[in-house]
Amino acid sequence: MTKYRVNKTKYIDQTKTVSFNFDGKSYHGFEGDTLASALLSNGVHLVGRSFKYHRPRGIMSCGSEEPNAICQIHEDTDLTEPNVRATEIELYEGLKASSQNCWPSVNFDIGGINNFISQFIPAGFYYKTFMWPKSFWKKIYEPLIRMSAGLGKSPTKPDPELYDHKHVHCDVLIIGGGISGIIASKIAAKNNLKTILIEDKNILGGSTIYQKNENYKINNNYSSEWLDQEIAELKKLDNLTIKTRTSLAAYHSYNYLLAKENISDHLPLDKRNVGIRQRLWKIRADKVIVAAGAIERPLVFNNNDRPGIMLSNSVKKYLDFYGVSCGFNNVIFTNNDSAYETAVSLKEKGISVEMIDIRKKSNSKIVKNAEQLGVKINWNSTVVNTFGLRKINSVEIMNLSEDGSNVVGDKNKINCDCLAISGGWTPMVHMHTQSGGKLDFREIDQTFIPNEIDKNHINIGSCNGDFEIEEIINNTNKKVKNFLKVSETEFDNISVLNSKELDKRNIWLLPNFISEGKCKSFIDFQNDSTANDIKLALREGFKSIEHVKRYTTTGMATDQGKLSNMHALGIIADTAGVKIGTLGTTTFRPPFTPLTFGSIVGRSVGNFFDITRKTSIHEWHIQNRAKFENVGQWKRPWYYPINDEGLHNAVQRESKAARDSAGILDASTLGKIDIQGTDASEFLNRVYTNAWSKLGIGKCRYGLMLNEDGMVYDDGVTTRLGENHYLMTTTTGGAANVLSKLEDYLQTEWPELDVYLTSVTDHYSTASICGPNSKKILKKIFPDKDFSDDAFPHMSYQNDKIDEINCRIMRISFTGELSYEINIESKYGKSLWEKCIEAGKEFKITPYGTETMHLLRAEKGFIIVGQDTDGTMTPIDLQMDWIVSKKKYDFIGKRSLYRSDTIREDRKQLVGLLTDDPNEILEEGAQIVSDMSKKPIEMIGHVTSSYFSPNLNKSIALAVVKSGKKMYGQKLIVPMENKNINVTVSDSVFSR
């Protein structure tokens, strides 16, 4: 046993030694310890350096509010994790942790120089300094800031661990397993309600579970003993699920909550490969009871951040729960009674303690108890300075003036090795506000407490502002009974004894004889913001709490200001001379404590990140070594390299083959919508720009669809299969959106139309065969069919059969070449494809991918929606006036085509670009300029598609250029990083 482990408790198994490593040094702790308690048991307080000034910092608390003791754990590059609170890591054999934000070591840190120049780096320093000269930003300021910024290191390899999600419903969810949460759970479960209790620690009981004090008794037992029995009974209840090591992350509206369960984080690494590391619970609860507790406030005084300065109740927990004394010569600095419980606990174990209390007196039982034990109390006093470089060694105190605004009298120095501070309690109202709840300000103890209007959740215990055990038990019982509509409970007649606090005094920023500018009174320990920073922000004109917060970064660290927000508010209110209640609070946003990315994404990683859609011909593509391209969720063959052919050579070969003999494309991914109903023709008339009424049965027509704002939305060929039956095709990526849009219009604007829409994209596979020999290939597959132009003209379709299987043959073309598409039920897609390949063998039929398809259509000047358009192009801009009906009274987007903005002649318009050097291929996305001399250079457009055409033997590109229609023959420039490329504007149809 180390010398700081002074107390035996049932929560620490002193027969089971656990060895661990911190900052390269080996230590021992016991089973039941946290990393923080184990370090303290070895006398280690200094665990990190502060973010901005690199001041030495020590463990301050025992929970999730910890601002200083944040560590990097694990050494492996795949498992390492930054910003883990030492107060929350359960100790396990072999744990490796190190401090952050210091170099070369936590004891000697170069960045500590910042502390000495701190006067020159006040709030807003970065905003003010790194503004000028502008040219310094990229090369000097940014690398410098990046080097010094950030906490800890990210893993550099993929996370090997498994994470899980679980969806649950329950009648009652109780957040927090302290005394009030336990009472509420028992009432709920005993009244046949399906109840879930979550608690972030590994055991239930909160701070009552280690409370053994004569002044706090329930039914004549120590409150801890009474609670122990309650917990034992609770665990036997049927309707109750108890989840420990589970912390609430977010409380969304309609009682939808997220909670993270740690499953294996407390196990040694070699015992972890058993499954899931963390599970995110997604809970929809009928009723929610928040029993999240309260967090002790620090006090704000000069040099209040040295290692060895800790929250008073944490000192008590380390002693009574972990058996560790944080010091042997303790000073407690307080403004309230709760700190006296710590003093009594210390004194009862024979450890020296002296009190400094800013109040003038207190006559409560617990204070009397401390006095009887011989604890010296310095009333009406404040700490004005602290000393000790790597750990506190003494404090200097002075008396307060009558109104508390100043200090009077002489300084008095007290030696100590631990300073416990207590500034009162802040209810954890985060959950309440996350759910949309409002807060009221309670003047008497300067707390924000929940204002409950929502009928579906309540707050109980100290998060509701009930701090004394008697009011906790009675109010909890009363509120839960009312909330769950229960008439009587076992808690109705309980005798509770507790010390009542009668005297209160609060001073947000304690006065000092040292001038304000020379004091370092920290508010936000993790982000190193001080009372001075807040005052500076106010002097510089920031008024809103939200602005002050962002300017000073108070409350913006990984602890989200759990310890600092109230003091920031208090100091702003005092300085501005207003009441806190009128300032409001900053917004509490989820997550309450940081979540791992792993728990958020769960199983949706790697192949499960998104759905992958494959056509029925996919296997063939793989066997034929296709390279794939993602189009929406689809995997489409991009090109089919032969041997070590690259993209360029493969595309040149495929394109040539398609124009010279025959090519085949898997077109199954195009969206297909089956449209039926007596008003189907009228419907198409309204959604496409061109006319549909006169399309004969068996004919196909290309259609262009606009948004109501006149911009091109989608395009595709629609075939009339029957009198009241059409098959619409859409772009691959736009299919789902087009269907939604059509459904929207049908249901909301035109419910009178008799039209039914069904997505059949996945139902049919499509092989598209193009090239001069395509007709011969089709003839081999369908020997009885007449493929003459008269019998089977362009833009028509016919039904047929392959081996008794129905199929549709469409003579339509996206390449400008003679071309046929065969549609067949998806399950026969691969055999259809193989039949086509077999029939095409003698013509050297060449499978081609999307890249060749894009090239072939570009030669003909056909657009691709989404590549040559971007939601700002009208059909007129695309020079597709021919497809916009002048006769139709209305269609979606028609009215917008002659708005003052859409008829502007200097809009960007689609044109062709030919490079002066026919071998130069432009980059898609490159900017286009006409005049390089006028600065700033005006960019008049950009390249949308660019290829080398093997059929035309030159480079071709499509581009959108301002007033492009009028520029045919004009020379323009495409400036690139190393050169300017000269181009000539041409028609967008390169080959007729």
């Binding site: 509206s253 309609y254 949309g436 109501e708 929207d744 249901q747 909301t748 708005r899």
Partner: protein, 91 residues
């Protein structure tokens, strides 16, 4: 995350729905007879108020029906859900 009472399917999680913006904006029957300003009023102008708002919602991952919803944007309380074509509740 709301719980939305789809008028066709009943209570479902918000993740099954998508919001389609302000409700009760009727597409003009004769767009070509409108001035640019009148057309722009229909096309672009949407209220986005803090308070009770009438919205279109679609049960996209369910029955795919569109319906209307009255929601208070300040606290996400859903006051009413009703089918397309039905009159909005008065108060």
């Amino acid at each position: 995350m709301f719980l939305i009472n789809c008028p066709y399917c009943g209570e479902r999680d918000q993740s099954e729905f998508s919001c389609g913006g302000e409700a009760h904006i009727i597409r003009p029957k004769q767009p070509t007879e409108l001035s640019d300003d009148q057309w722009a009023e229909y096309l672009f102008m949407r209220k986005n108020i803090k308070g009770v708002q009438f919205e279109r919602w679609n049960h996209a991952h369910g029955c795919r029906k569109w319906f209307n919803m009255v929601r208070d944007t300040s606290n996400d309380k859903i006051h009413a859900v009703y089918k397309m074509g039905e009159k909005p509740p008065v108060e």
